[in-house]
Symmetry: C2
Subunit: 148 residues, 2 copies
Amino acid sequence: MAENDTEEWTQRAQRVLAESRHHAGAARRALVELLDSQTCALSAIEIEDELRARRRPVGRASIYRILDELERLNLVQKLQIGQAMARYEPIRPGPGHHHHLVCDNCGTVTPFTDDGLETAINRLSRRVPMRVHEHEIVLHGACPDCAA
Amino acid sequence: MAENDTEEWTQRAQRVLAESRHHAGAARRALVELLDSQTCALSAIEIEDELRARRRPVGRASIYRILDELERLNLVQKLQIGQAMARYEPIRPGPGHHHHLVCDNCGTVTPFTDDGLETAINRLSRRVPMRVHEHEIVLHGACPDCAA
DNA sequence: ATAGAAACGAGACTGAATCTCATTCCTATA
DNA sequence: TATAGGAATGAGATTCAGTCTCGTTTCTAT
């Protein structure tokens, strides 16, 4: 993730938030910046812990409220990856787009990309009886360590 | 789902369970039959309610225990579809294989199939740094009713 | 028939996620 | 710059899916 891509998402998020009739809360800014600094999905609890570690604690209710709002504004995608809790990550246009491998043994989550898959999804999305906004692809299996 | 496909899954499940050094419990049989009678994924709570409604109540602990076991034996797939709770459905060879559309507004889950997608996934599965056992594809969006 | 093992289920417990509501923070306006 | 009123925040209670424990019941090999 290049430094200025990173800048772009935070700025786009702040702009979209500002446009949707809101005050600019400090908790929200901290959370947006944290999300942008990550390369893969975080759970709400990880976000809570990390913000506290950075000396910018944010209440749990606020975290979920902000994540829901970011999701509604299409700024983050909520992922339901195998385990019980949801994970969240920024939606970035183009090359940032990826999907996830999940090791069912140790729980590790690894991102991957595939153009053939995206093509198939796009074609399919037009054929299907629903207006498709997002897609979520998870491959389950055993990671190299656990398959050994 | 043709009637004899239905028969086949229950029978295969019973056989695989019998082969893996088990007694034949009544709760397990009831759950296997319920799963087989469905055309799309059920949550554990829905299973609990439906079994109670059928006058064959099964304890919650047993439901989860049996579902976990069926998953380990590759007889059911556990799906993490958008919402908080997991859903389970029988793994049937061939034409039964499908994926899911989820309406983010009303929560409706609809199955779909796509050969192009399967091809892309199979190709991809060989390229990726993990031994892939299962894949899970969810398209999120607005169903015809909610998009209106 | 029965002993031992496997399966079962009631209910306590855990932890993610939601809800409530009093407090604090922003910003438009004066 | 002060301030009023709405928006944002967060502590804590609550909900609910899922897990765990352990005593009871059921199954099957003998």
